[in-house]
Amino acid sequence: MLFWVPVTGLSLLLVYNTLPYFSFNKDLSFIEERSFLFKSDFYNSCFYIHIFAGSLCILMALIQFSRYILKKSKAIHRISGKIYVSVVLFLGAPTGLYMSFFAKGSFWERALFLFMACFWFITTLYGLTTIHKRNIIAHKVWMMRSYAMAMTAVTFRLYHIIFYLLDWGHLENYELSLWLSVIGNMLFAEWIIYRQGKNYLKSFAT
């Protein structure tokens, strides 16, 4: 509960802040900064697909991890899961991969975005294949990793604001927030997997 309240709040805030982009107004800071890239129709469409996919993924994932919904109705979990997987595999990851070439920062930040897109795709795909094989534990593990990657959007913004309030330079803030969000989320996911695995093994012992 202590974990899910801020996660849900921040996820909803992220989706809420994404809504102005769908007015297709060019006065928004993200678009203003990349005005040169937004001249390209392909980049433009990739961007709008990506933010739509990202918002949908984050909303769907909130339902996916709810034990209450899973117990009450498995159908909701399945439908939202299918939406999540298809949106990641067909929309979110490929558009993210294309956009990563033009991402802000040095070569390493672009490489990180590339890695994120590939990692998001692979973990989601593994999550899908494991559930098809009825391997629920592996499915949980891979989906946690996939969700951790999706949540970098939230944690990035969080770090970005913190460093902004601490009066950090814009580019340093951006780069550090990016690395912290990706590595931090991955480590956090692995820690939860390890902890849950430990508890799972303990249950056999007792």
Binding site: S29, F30, E32, F36, L89, F90, P94, F101, D167, H170
Partner: protein, 167 residues
């Protein structure tokens, strides 16, 4: 299941190839290179008056030497020819003598450069950054994007040129 994998993989490979090719074409463009460059934000400055600088007051004194009245004009005399006749030079009468009416004595002048009210010591004003839900966005948290209307201005009040007072 396999069709999902194939479609997804095709999209990923296509995106990576197209992205790489597109990036190679655009990376040399000037607009792309300059896109993410940070503009130096003009930070407001405050002029502090309390710092006194003793060395700022400068006295410029200048002495001018009086111009002497007696001017000696040296003229070259042409070589005298043998046939030349000399006329006697009469002495000039006392009334006819040219004497200056007044003798001007140029006073010592001292010019004091007084510093302007602002001593030129600038202090950056730290703007308090306010937390807002709008900041929770992927957009750049740069002053020029966060407060686009608030064009940061130099608060330097008109830097007066040093006044020159004649005493």
């Amino acid at each position: 299941m396999k069709s999902i994998l194939y479609v997804g993989a095709t999209l990923m490979i296509g995106a990576s190839i197209y992205g790489f090719v597109d990036y190679k074409q655009t990376r040399n463009k000037k607009e792309f290179k300059e896109m993410y460059q940070e503009e130096k934000a003009i930070t407001p400055v405050e002029i502090i008056n309390d710092k006194k600088t003793a060395s700022l007051e400068q006295n410029v004194t200048g002495e001018k030497q009086p111009i002497s009245d007696n001017k000696t004009v040296i003229t070259k005399k042409p070589a005298n020819s043998k046939e030349e006749t000399f006329s006697t030079i009469k002495p000039i009468a006392a009334e006819e003598k040219m004497v200056p009416a007044e003798t001007k004595v140029i006073e010592k002048t001292s010019v004091a450069i007084q510093p302007s009210n602002d001593s030129g010591v600038e202090k950056k004003i730290k703007k308090k950054r306010k937390l807002s839900t709008k900041l929770f966005s992927r957009g750049a948290l740069d002053e020029r994007y966060v407060n686009p209307k608030e064009k940061v201005e130099l608060i330097k009040e008109d830097l007066k040129k040093p006044e020159i007072k004649e005493q």
